[in-house]
């Protein structure tokens, strides 16, 4: 038996030695031209040296959520094509991070000469204040937050106004006077969606029944990235009689759409025009989406940087500025579009004031 062990050990050692050798070859062979310094691996063409080097830092989730982060990525892609950016670098947060680790991410971008640097999400609030102060010549932007600094631009949205419109749409479309709202995580930001949605629905039908469910509560931010939870929550609402559910749940929204599909009801998308971005099999249940044009905000900011007209402080993307809206892809809200446009005008003119909490 010992002999057996020993021979196995010998074999393992031999294999590992070989692997190490392979690894070593790979190491020396590949690093001939490639240096390991930050910024060496430029992601896009280096042919336009005049363009900006843009750094983007996501919160947890990053690209691929078909929603908020992807909208930011879309803005960057558009800028890459139209503004001839020299280089872009996208970094993503990990789970269970401290504020200091978020700072470090922004600092890494700034000190590697990425300028401007865009932070996606309010979690970067404290981090961006500190790092922006350390790099006064770099322009920073943060989405969804009002962190102040002479070189910080705030790209903030009136989610409550956009949600008001889809709330009205849900109330106009429901046959049972029963609708639902699925929020990703119970935080003030998502509360803005819920309040707008509720007010919009009640503006149409004051007695409408609205189920509200949040998938997780902080510090568990998993609710933004858990389609199974989204599906269960929405299924519960549909089973209880709701026939339109609005989701503000990031990556969990896909589950809400699946539930709508299987119970032959309707759902409302969020952030992006999800009738275009969601999985193809569920697109037909998405009657409309509350557009939060993070892509436009990111692109506008990059454009202003290219033009040298960056302004610090908040830029509010509300209905008036076209920063939030409802989508008409699929034609399911064509019959009520006039009514929705009426509400839109009333909000823009100030006749209707949508509360935020």
């Amino acid at each position: 038996m010992l002999r057996n062990h020993a021979s196995k050990l010998a074999a393992t050692t031999a294999v590992s030695a070989m692997l190490m050798a392979v690894a070593a070859c790979g190491g020396s062979g590949g690093s001939g031209t490639d240096t390991a310094t930050p910024g060496a691996s430029s992601a896009s063409s280096a042919a336009a040296p005049a363009g900006a080097k843009v750094g983007l830092a996501y919160d947890i989730g990053g690209r691929g959520d078909q929603s908020f982060n992807d909208a930011a990525a879309a803005g960057l892609e558009k800028a890459k094509a139209e503004l001839k950016l020299a280089d872009t670098k996208e970094l993503e947060a990990g789970a269970g991070e401290t504020g200091a680790q978020k700072e470090q991410r922004l600092r890494l971008l700034a000190q590697s000469q990425y300028n401007p640097v865009i932070a996606v999400g309010f979690a970067y609030s404290e981090a961006i204040k500190k790092v922006a102060a350390e790099f006064p010549d770099t322009k920073f932007a943060i989405i969804d937050d009002a962190a102040q600094g002479p070189n910080i631009s705030n790209l903030v949205f009136a989610e409550n106004e956009g949600s008001f419109l889809v709330g009205a749409a849900a109330a106009l479309k429901t046959k049972k006077d029963h609708i639902g709202f699925v929020g990703g995580v119970q935080v003030p930001l998502i509360k803005k969606f819920e309040v707008g949605f509720t007010k919009g629905a009640q503006a149409v039908k004051p007695d409408i029944k609205i189920d509200v469910k949040y998938l997780t509560q902080p510090p568990d931010f998993g609710g933004f990235n858990d389609p199974a939870k989204g599906k269960t929550a929405a299924q519960g609402m549909y089973d209880a009689g709701a026939d339109v559910v609005y989701q503000a749940a990031g990556g969990s929204g896909g589950g809400v759409f699946e539930a709508a599909k299987s119970s032959k009801t309707l759902a409302i998308g969020v952030d992006s025009d999800q009738a275009l971005t969601a999985d193809a099999s569920v697109r037909d249940v998405i009657m409309t989406s509350m557009l939060k044009k993070v892509d436009v905000a990111v692109f506008d900011f990059l454009k202003s940087f290219a033009d040298g007209t960056v302004k610090a402080g908040p830029t509010t993307y509300d209905l008036k500025a076209g920063g939030v809206d409802f989508s008409t892809t699929g034609g399911q809200v064509d019959d009520i579009k006039n009514k929705l446009d009426e509400y839109k005008q009333k909000i823009i003119s100030g006749e209707i004031k949508v509360p935020t909490e």
Binding site: S16, G26, A36, G39, G94, G96, A123, D145, A147, P219
Partner: protein, 380 residues
């Protein structure tokens, strides 16, 4: 020489001599191989990747961050290890520290006291809350025989819900001006724990709490190895029936150990709270309790081993942005962490088995040669 797998897993059986060095070396080699294979499969070069991580971690600011994060991890792993030594699996460190940090932050923000008292008060609140929350699981186990694994996991979920309920403007929270964040009232200067300028070349300070963490590590060692309580604790962990036979009140030990583990868990959020954020807000780091479990396993519940594990884990967590920066998926770091824990467990198990097989062979050889086995053969 019969020891259960759990005994070996939790480091209750010691290896002597050369074998004690063989196990960690085997673990490092094994982890290195697995990680290299994964990196190669992804088309990345293992040595370059490691070089990137090391280069980045050599910058002074990153070093400070490694130390700071490791401080938190260390305390968390100690909390877990206290339970492990007695076969108590406190999976609830996560809920214990989050609730403790939230309430301690709220109390700290509401109080104004002279500096040392203010810090002491906040720490006391955290320790008490952590201990109380763990006490629920302890009492359930001692009185009703409820498995602490199940109850602490459930208590984590309850702590999350309870914490979210507390962290609203109607109760303990104040909105952060102009932000979508929300947090407790910031703790005033008298409640902030000063940092240390340990690392030259950066203005970032190391958490002063690193000293507290070291003190906790020493206290852990002394308590377990030099006191009656520690002996009872270890004895109960090894064999409950033997402990009962020698007069140990096992139920009392369960309650005390669990509360002690929870009290230490209460300290996990303190370095971040008193050294950096001064407030418990939506972005307070979650999940540290689970990191603690992995590090306690990796460090084999030994205060030095846990320290090494915490530093290694923190090094990987704090330098992974540079991988993302160079187009290598940073998730590779999570794979590395998992592999390291697994290889430590496997390596120690292999070395233990090798030793027991070698011993059996030696004994049988001596028996067949007709000479009685020397007495010290059994004592190794």
């Amino acid at each position: 020489m019969s020891s259960s797998f759990t005994d070996r897993l939790l480091g209750r059986v010691r290896l002597g001599g050369l074998l004690a060095i063989a196990a960690p070396i085997l673990a490092i080699v094994f982890a290195g191989i697995v990680t290299s294979i994964i990196l190669l499969l992804n088309g990345n070069e293992p040595f370059k990747t490691l070089g990137l991580l090391l280069d980045f971690s050599a910058t002074p600011r990153t070093q400070v961050m490694i130390l700071n994060t490791a401080t938190t991890y260390y305390i968390s792993a100690l909390a877990v290890a206290i339970g492990f030594r007695m076969n108590l699996f406190n999976i609830g460190v996560d809920g214990q520290y989050r609730l403790a940090a939230l309430i301690a932050a709220a109390v700290g923000g509401a109080l104004t006291l002279p500096a040392p008292l203010h810090v002491a008060a906040i720490m006391l609140v955290a320790v008490v809350i952590g201990g109380l929350w763990a006490a629920i699981a302890a009492v359930l186990k001692a009185t009703r025989g409820v498995s602490e694994v199940i109850s602490t996991i459930m208590l984590n979920a309850i702590a999350t819900g309870f914490g979210a309920w507390l962290l609203t403007p109607e109760r303990l929270a104040v909105p952060v001006a102009g932000s979508n964040n929300i947090g407790t009232k910031p703790i005033g200067p008298s409640g902030q724990f000063p940092g240390l300028s340990l690392i030259p070349g950066t203005t970032t300070k190391v958490y002063g709490m690193v000293i507290v963490a070291i003190v906790l590590g020493v206290a852990y060692y002394v308590l377990l190895n030099r006191t009656r309580f520690g002996f009872d604790l270890r004895a109960t962990g090894r064999s409950e029936s033997a402990a009962v036979a020698s007069g140990v009140n096992v139920k009392k030990m369960v309650v005390l150990t669990m509360i002690l583990s929870g009290a230490v868990a209460g300290m996990v959020g303190i370095p971040q709270l008193l050294g950096a954020s001064y407030s418990y807000s939506l972005d307070f780091p979650p999940g540290l309790g689970f990191t603690g479990i992995a590090i306690a396993l990796m460090g084999r519940n030994n205060p030095i081993g846990i320290g090494v594990g915490a530093l290694l884990w923190s090094f990987l967590d704090n330098s992974n942005d540079i991988l993302d920066f160079n187009g290598i998926p940073k998730e590779i770091v999570i794979i590395m962490q998992g592999t390291i824990v697994l290889s430590v467990i496997i390596a120690y198990e292999l070395v233990h088995r090798y030793r027991s097989v070698a011993e059996q062979r030696r004994v049988s050889r001596q028996l067949s040669a007709g000479t009685p086995a020397p007495a010290e053969g059994a004592a190794a």
